[in-house]
């Protein structure tokens, strides 16, 4: 990291994660670590068929087994008034939304669809009993390929008479006019294949219903959303439902969901009067926890001879699997909002068609729509450059939205908050000597070594909020997406921060403590951050879409500012000064210019709680803020990847990965680097290794970590990270999100690097995943063609 000066306060400083010691010493408390008195276990009977009518379910043998309390099917859950939720209703758009029940009622639509639940005394007993539930299936025709599904029968949901979910477009300018101006038009069929979230902790729940009170422990990113829907689906007052997300071992979007298993556990606990626990197996997680991407796109980009892009038109066919989950059909639209990337493109259009197939549903997985958009933009742009005989760096510079244009409205009307795209690219080129690389590349080629350099310059839309845009009257999410925080200064001067976000590995306990500590003049060690419990702290909107700092952190700031205002009034009264003359410095609130006569926060809290506050002021020291920003935030960056391709076998090795990112003002550079590292692994993983694959019968082929190949440290280089700082004008801290950045950038950088390596062999495009066989085949085809 070369961002030099260390700040005077805690914000901006490298600080190790205060939440880590218990997590890395086996002392965390995950759902599976929790045992409640009298608790029973649940295990699900799941469909082995991709599409079938259920003709009978015989639960008698399972129910008769020792240690089994009950076996329930969909027919038992008649008191649940509505199917599982889908929360996107865009104005003026018809979204086909078939009923999706927590336990299948008459038919199963994908492998793993749950048809019954066995409840019993221990985990082994219920797993054994699952094998004694006999379900007769009448197989129905299966459709796996989205292009086949959109063409007609067989239908996943016969009642709809189509596999089409919806159509949605976002356009700015006139793409046909733009193509008419173009000297070169590149067309691509870009496949962005299906991937898994694969968190280290699978899902898990414990539901404890007592008359008038439901408590649900769930490994979730969204306890507040889960609470709302459990209340609605079970007919319990939302105030009587408490959802707790204890330590959560990663989510990557997979745990941004309201799952049927959560509902079944709550319902069964109410029915049986005892707590019910379910811990997901890895096999279940791979086959039924929602997956991501799975888009096939027809992409056209037009440019003038000088490299100026005149039009970009993308037609996305998005495979949603068997059902709409909570935000399924919205996901590709998130890409549409940034389909012009970091380029000034006057004519941009995205047309989305959603389609059902007999596969696990898709929904948000890290990046959610933006990695797909970035891949389409960046690989197509490289081909435009190639056809114009331009350098990939040069064509990017030619088209960047200039720094002086910000805030910058794109063709589609989305306003980017801030950016300096030349700045990140300049910094990237300090790390990557392109002329030296090209000379080396040329020399190596003569020795039969195929080395490639790929770039990705990108921006994205995150900090999900603001309600006016995301909400019912805007994009159509049936919720406001603001965020909340409550700050409580205790008698002793210790501070508790209650956030409505629900971190599950991001490091927000540390980041939020740094923010609050500076404002209140205390050590971050005495600032406790509490999250993931709907009974404690204000209503919240949880963690996803790289929103927790830009929305949740800003709410923390604003709530803390309210505390500071009150503190200043108290201190001013105590020191007989004016509140506007009070400042915080050296751990004390004091009159400007007289730092010796100050009051530490603990002294102020003492006054506040004893009640010796100025006349008219309420006692206590506790404030809440609900923050709804004016706009999204738009982080950006420039990444480069260098690979070697074994032209004989097709195997790709990543030699270097350099990431220069700009997420506004850094709160903790260590956390930023951590997020970039993880995100880049995810993106490299998709580009080279990871793929969820179903065979033609709808059977999942990649159900274990043997076949679903996550990248490991052995395959990856040491990442080189750096950053520029372009503050966001949207929030007072000038921050942007960074949780998805690496993932959004990396797959395109890797793909471009592989293509760059192989151009002499006649290869000008390969779809991900760039597996050895696929690369080898592309080399064979390229060599045959040239």
């Amino acid at each position: 990291m070369s961002v030099a000066e260390q700040p005077s306060g805690n914000v901006g400083k490298v600080m190790r994660r205060k939440e880590d010691p218990p997590l890395i010493t086996g002392k965390g408390r995950y759902v599976d670590d929790i045992t409640l008195p009298g608790m029973l276990w649940a295990s699900f009977v799941r469909s082995p068929e991709a599409h079938a009518t259920i003709t009978s379910i015989d639960t008698s043998a399972a129910a008769a087994r020792e240690g089994i309390t009950a076996v329930f099917t969909g027919a038992d859950m008649t008191d649940v008034p509505a199917p599982l939720p889908m929360a996107w209703a865009p104005p003026g758009v018809q979204v086909n939304n078939p009923e999706h029940w927590a336990l299948a009622k008459d038919a199963v639509k994908h492998v793993g669809d749950p048809v019954a639940v066995v409840i019993g005394e221990d985990r082994y007993a219920v797993q054994d009993a699952v094998e004694d539930v006999f379900v007769d299936y009448e197989p129905l025709p299966v459709v796996v390929d989205p292009e086949q599904a959109i063409a007609g029968e067989p239908f996943v949901h016969d009642s709809l008479g189509t596999n089409r979910v919806h159509e949605w477009s976002l356009a700015g300018g006139d793409v046909e006019a733009g193509f008419a101006e173009a000297d070169v038009v590149v067309e691509r069929r870009v496949v962005n294949h299906r991937i898994a979230g694969a968190p280290i902790e699978c899902r898990g729940v414990i539901a404890e219903y007592r008359p008038g009170q439901l408590t649900l422990y769930s490994a979730t990113q969204v306890p507040h959303f889960v609470r709302l829907f459990m209340a609605l689906l079970l007919g319990i007052g939302e105030d009587r439902v408490r959802v707790i997300a204890p330590d959560v071992g990663g989510g990557f979007g997979q745990k941004l969901q309201v799952y049927g298993e959560e509902l079944v556990a709550c319902w069964a606990s109410r029915r049986l009067g005892v707590p019910v626990k379910w811990t997901e197996t890895r096999s279940e997680n791979m086959s039924v926890a929602h997956q991501g991407r799975d888009q096939i796109s027809r992409v056209r980009m037009g440019a003038k001879r000088d490299g100026t892009i005149t039009a970009f038109h993308v037609k996305i066919l998005a495979d949603f699997g068997a059902y709409n989950m909570i935000l399924t059909p919205l996901i590709p639209s998130l890409g549409a909002f940034v389909m012009g990337g970091c380029y000034k493109i006057p004519n941009v259009q995205t047309d989305i068609v959603g389609v059902f197939t007999n596969k696990c549903p898709t929904d948000a997985i890290r990046g959610a729509g933006r990695p797909e958009a970035t891949q389409m933009i960046e690989v197509t742009l490289d081909q435009v450059a190639h056809e114009l005989d331009m350098d990939p760096v040069e064509i990017r510079r030619r088209n960047f939205i200039p720094a002086e244009d910000f805030p910058a409205a794109t063709a589609t009307g989305v306003v980017y908050d801030s950016g300096n795209y030349d700045g990140t690219l300049d910094k990237l080129l300090e790390h990557v000597d392109v002329p030296a690389f090209r000379a080396e590349q040329e020399k190596l080629r003569s020795e039969g070594v195929y080395r490639g350099l790929g770039f990705c310059t990108w921006t994205e839309i995150c900090g999900l909020a603001p309600s006016r845009v995301t909400g019912p009257a805007g994009v159509g999410v049936q919720a406001g997406l603001w965020e909340s925080a409550m700050i409580r200064v205790h008698n002793t001067g210790a501070v508790t921060v209650y956030t409505g976000t629900s971190p599950h590995g991001q490091g927000l306990d540390t980041a939020f403590a740094q923010i609050v500590a500076d404002k209140l003049g205390v050590d971050p060690a005495v600032v406790e951050v509490v999250h993931g419990d709907t009974a404690i702290g204000p209503e919240g909107r949880n963690t996803y879409g790289s929103r927790s700092l830009a929305t949740g952190g800003e709410a923390v700031c604003k709530a803390t500012d309210k505390v500071v205002e009150k503190v200043k009034q108290i201190v001013a009264a105590e020191l007989e000064a004016a509140p506007e003359d009070i400042e915080v410095a050296g751990g004390k609130f004091s009159v400007k210019g007289s730092p010796d006569k100050g009051m530490a926060l603990a002294d102020v809290a003492g006054v506040a709680y004893i009640g010796a506050v100025p006349e008219g002021m309420e006692p206590g020291l506790e404030e809440t803020n609900f923050y709804d920003p004016e706009n999204f935030v738009f982080p950006f960056g420039a990444h480069a990847c260098i690979v070697d391709v074994d032209a004989e076998t097709g195997k790709v090795k990543v030699l270097r990965y350099v990431a220069v990112d700009d997420c506004g003002n850094p709160v903790n550079p260590l956390l930023i680097d951590g997020q970039i590292h993880g995100g880049v692994v995810h993106g490299i993983g998709q580009a080279l290794y990871e793929r969820v694959h179903y065979d033609a019968d709808g059977q999942l082929v990649t159900g274990t970590f043997v076949d679903y190949a996550l990248a490991t440290a052995a395959e990856l280089p040491n990442f080189e990270t750096d950053r520029t700082i372009t503050p966001s004008p949207v929030n007072s801290m000038g921050v942007k999100g960074v949780g998805e950045a690496g993932t959004i950038a990396a797959s395109a950088a890797v793909t471009n690097a592989v293509i760059d390596a192989l151009r002499p062999l006649g290869v000008d495009y390969i779809n991900m995943p760039l597996t050895p066989m696929r690369v080898w085949e592309a080399i064979n085809e390229g060599s045959a063609a040239s």
Partner: protein, 280 residues
């Protein structure tokens, strides 16, 4: 792990272990390092009624040289093989089995008795012309590596037999190399080739080439061996011989590799393995 119910015993002698297998019937299974059996039990693809754990049985560990060969105890972990360079090709093969955790727990005997065609050690047993010792209720017998692997995950080890020892001829003066092709370092071989070469000056006095995952059992690339034996070890001759490495094979296609691609890989890996054997 939530396996089906099973019984467990850890006998303290070989005789007791064999007796436990006899008493346990056809659903009794031996447990060595557990790195093949336990994952299958976890997925409930295997549901043995009885696990006979060999961990307390004495005399099944260690490597010692005797009469021109190494006697390797069946419970010797891959990690021990990896750091026994005197084993030549076997040490090199063991070094790239899965990851360090697996190498610390997984054993040579367990791997050979399991007989997975994608596992690394079987082909190396073929080209070292190893023999295994099997002890059963009716006594002891020896089986050559060529006769050990019968079909996919099927070996000559009887249901009531314990593979106790591997006899590896010491290939003094032979060069060796292993080229394993996989997507990630911890993965099973998509295809792999191991080679041992005995050079006399620049002439190939003898060569043996083993192939992994090209069939339901490990294979010798005999056509390639024959083409190179007696020839000068020039890059051209090696390449010509390696072109024959996939002759007669018809590996099944899978998620990561078609039949044609596997055959191509076999030729490339064989060439690289032979060439690198000369340097080592």
């Amino acid at each position: 792990m939530i396996p089906a119910e099973f019984h467990y015993t850890a006998p303290e002698s070989l005789e007791d272990a064999i007796q436990a297998l006899v008493d346990g019937g056809e659903d009794a299974k031996l447990l060595a390092g557990g790195h093949s059996l336990i994952p299958l039990m976890k997925l409930r693809l295997a549901a043995p009624s009885l696990l006979v754990d060999l961990r307390k049985v004495p005399g099944l560990h260690g490597i010692e040289r005797q009469d021109g060969a190494f006697r390797v105890g069946a419970l010797t972990p891959h990690r021990k093989l990896e750091f026994s360079p005197e084993l030549g090709i076997v040490a090199k093969v063991a070094a790239v089995i899965a990851d360090p955790q697996v190498r610390h727990r997984g054993t040579i005997g367990g791997s050979l008795a399991h007989g997975d065609s994608a596992s690394d050690l079987p082909a190396a047993m073929l080209i070292t012309e190893a023999e295994v010792t099997l002890q059963g209720p009716d006594g002891q017998r020896s089986v050559t590596a060529a006769d050990l692997f019968l079909d996919y995950m099927t070996t000559a080890v009887g249901e009531q037999e314990v593979l106790t020892e591997i006899r590896l001829p010491a290939l003094d003066g032979w060069g060796s190399s292993y080229h394993k092709f996989n997507r990630r370092s911890e993965d099973w071989a998509m295809v792999a080739a191991c080679a041992v070469v005995k050079a006399n000056g620049s002439t190939c006095e003898d060569v043996r080439i083993g192939l992994t995952n090209m069939a339901a059992v490990p294979l010798r690339a005999t056509a390639a061996e024959d083409a190179l034996r007696g020839q000068e070890l020039s890059p051209e001759n090696i390449a010509k011989a390696a072109e024959l490495a996939a002759e007669g094979t018809d590996p099944p296609s899978d998620l990561n590799a078609s039949t044609e691609y596997k055959k191509h890989l076999a030729r490339v890996m064989a060439r690289r393995a032979i060439a690198d054997s000369l340097a080592a």
